[in-house]
């Protein structure tokens, strides 16, 4: 048994009628590693995670969790599994503590164990003072933290999180990531293997490895730095006024493949080896077109640039 890879998945398929929700996913995640499933709505992230926890039955493919074959030894595997579903799936009519207690006990924590462990984990996620509140009366962010606490109460070696920060305020998002990173403890022997799904590129950048998903497949897979390296030397950042005019002028340049607003600036993706030419002629064209240029320079590519590039290849 290969327990060096807490998560091993090969050539996974799942269809709903004519929709191939998951269409050939293979994946390995090591202890202490965060793997990001990155993609927009309908890419197949949730279906992939549901297959991993055994909530759905795959049409084809193999899944091994903590060394156990999910098709035959799901219950053994689940003893090591923590899962936070995309939709809040705890009991709204139970209190915070009752929820944790229930999920701790059904996972085999004894009467003596569950209370100290639950309080420890509630402290960890910052919900200790709300322990007697009904789960239905928590805010969105607190619900997600309770979900995380519940998924962690039995100290799982494998943690699967489905869009844990979608619909959560930015401060809580930060908190949430701090929690996950503290959990990981990559240096220890028994670090947790995490798979997290997200539509956000800034979150993807925090993962050790990511898979860009679309239509049930990985378009690209690897560490964020390696993925960004594929666009090295091809991204320009442009600042000036007015942005819409600058975008039109830049877009008309024969060597600019894509011009897109990133907040108050533009990112231009330039054809390979054409960086110098663009840097030379674009300021001239902007001034001729009546725009004002504040800054134009080469920047390191972000994951968002990579994602945009990928999306266009496929469309």
């Amino acid at each position: 048994m290969d327990t060096n890879w807490p998560i091993r998945v090969s050539d996974l398929h799942k269809s709903f009628g004519a929709i191939h929700a998951v269409d050939g996913i293979s994946l390995r995640v090591a202890a202490g590693e965060i793997f990001g499933l990155v993609g927009s709505d309908g890419a197949g992230k949730t279906t992939t995670l549901r297959l991993l926890v055994g909530a759905l039955w795959p049409d084809a493919g193999e899944i091994a969790i903590a060394g156990y074959d999910m098709s035959r030894q799901a219950e053994q595997a689940r003893a090591h599994l923590g899962y936070l579903s995309q939709r809040f799936s705890l009991y709204e009519d139970l209190t915070v503590l009752e929820n944790i207690r229930f999920f701790a006990e059904v996972r085999g924590l004894s009467t003596g164990e569950w209370l100290p462990r639950s309080m420890e984990i509630l402290d960890f996620v910052g919900l200790a003072e709300f322990k007697d509140r009904r789960a239905g009366q928590l805010s969105g962010g607190m619900k997600q933290k309770l979900g995380l606490a519940t998924a962690l109460v039995h100290r799982p070696r494998i943690l699967l999180l489905d869009e844990p920060t979608t619909g959560v305020d930015p401060v809580t998002r930060q908190d949430f990531w701090q929690l996950i990173i503290r959990l990981l403890n990559p240096d220890a022997e028994d670090g947790v293997a995490v798979v997290i799904s997200t539509p956000y590129m800034d979150e993807a950048a925090r993962c050790n490895r990511i898979g860009f998903m679309r239509a049930g497949r990985f378009l690209l897979e690897g560490p964020p730095s390696a993925l960004c390296a594929t666009l090295e030397g091809r991204i320009l950042e442009l600042r000036g006024q007015p942005l819409r005019l600058l975008r039109r002028i830049a877009g008309q340049d024969e060597d600019v493949e894509d011009a897109r607003a990133f907040g108050d600036r533009l990112h231009l993706r330039v054809r390979e080896k054409r960086m110098k030419a663009v840097l030379r002629r674009l300021p001239r064209r902007i001034r001729a077109g009546g725009g004002s240029l504040d800054d134009l320079r080469q920047v390191p590519p972000t994951l968002e640039d990579v994602f945009i590039d990928l999306s266009e290849d496929v469309l």
Binding site: V53, G54, A55, R78, S85, S89, L90, D93, E98
Partner: protein, 376 residues
Amino acid sequence: MLNSRLRSIIRKEFIQILRDPRTLAISLFIPIMQLFLLGYAATSDVRNIPMAVWDQNRTPASRALLDAFRAADYFRIAYDVGSEAELRTLIEMGRARVGLLIPADYDLRFLDGTAQVAMVLDGSDPTVGSTALSAAQLIGQAHATRILNERMQRAGATFSLQPPLEVRTQVWYNPDLVSAYFMIPGVIGMILYAITSMLTATAIVRERERGTIEQLIVTPIRSWELMVGKILPYVILALLDTLEVLAIGHWWFGVPVRGSLALLLALSGLLLLSGLGIGLYASTIANTQQEAMLISWMTLLPGIFLSGFFFPLEAMPKVLQWVSYAIPLRYYLIIIRAILLKGVGAAAIQNEIIALAVFGVAIMGAAALHFRKRLD
């Protein structure tokens, strides 16, 4: 047998039941309501039929006839009217179900033996109509016989007139033919069968509807533990309901408990298997609580009609009688009526017990095989 996972599920389920006033009300209150509704309102005893009388004669003779009607508690002389139109209006409005017309020459024709009275009936409710008709005929005949006898005695006859034949009926087990005796065992059967099945179906589907099933799936809870843990609290509620209805039936409606209570409870457990099995099966098909309700109700309703709950089995067409053999509630109703009213032991109802057990195990088994701890 109760491992810690099972215990946790059961405790969680009870907390949820107690925090959900609607479910609690349904499970504890509806049975009582049904009991009173069916024990009183839907009773098929015909008593105190309101009657309107147009007495054009108004003599001691006509009053004697009315007294005869009053004496039998089938009729209640509710209106004394002065015209046929008035009588018609009362019957049309439903105030009176029966009208009695006594002609002006009643006492005179009485003497020569040609007296006639007219009876008008509202036939829109056949049960009431036919009961009223036969009751009126009986009362009339008895009255006539008595008067004849009186007259013969006065004329010096030494014998009295007796009809050559009399059928004497003697009713066993339920001598007053109180329909509550018939209904209350039925209500208990229905609660065990229908209410528990709907409660379990919705309780399981609620997990799916609210998404909590997704978190349950990922725990090491076994499929059978989830099934048993979700069902057991409702079994306990159902047995509480049974005792509750039985107690009210006994102390309020006076239904006798002649047989063994322990035997009855044990056999109620057998019926529960069928009811819960249907609920469990419905929960595997339905996606929402409404759907679950609907599916179990659609399955249960024809069964309840064909079980002999409302109508005696013998009064149904042959085909439907055959169909009724496929309905577990049928056997239970025979069993519970036999135990409560006749006080029989297991031996007298062994065929029904076997049938009930076979259905229970089959339905529950089929549902359990269909029950999956998965989303698809």
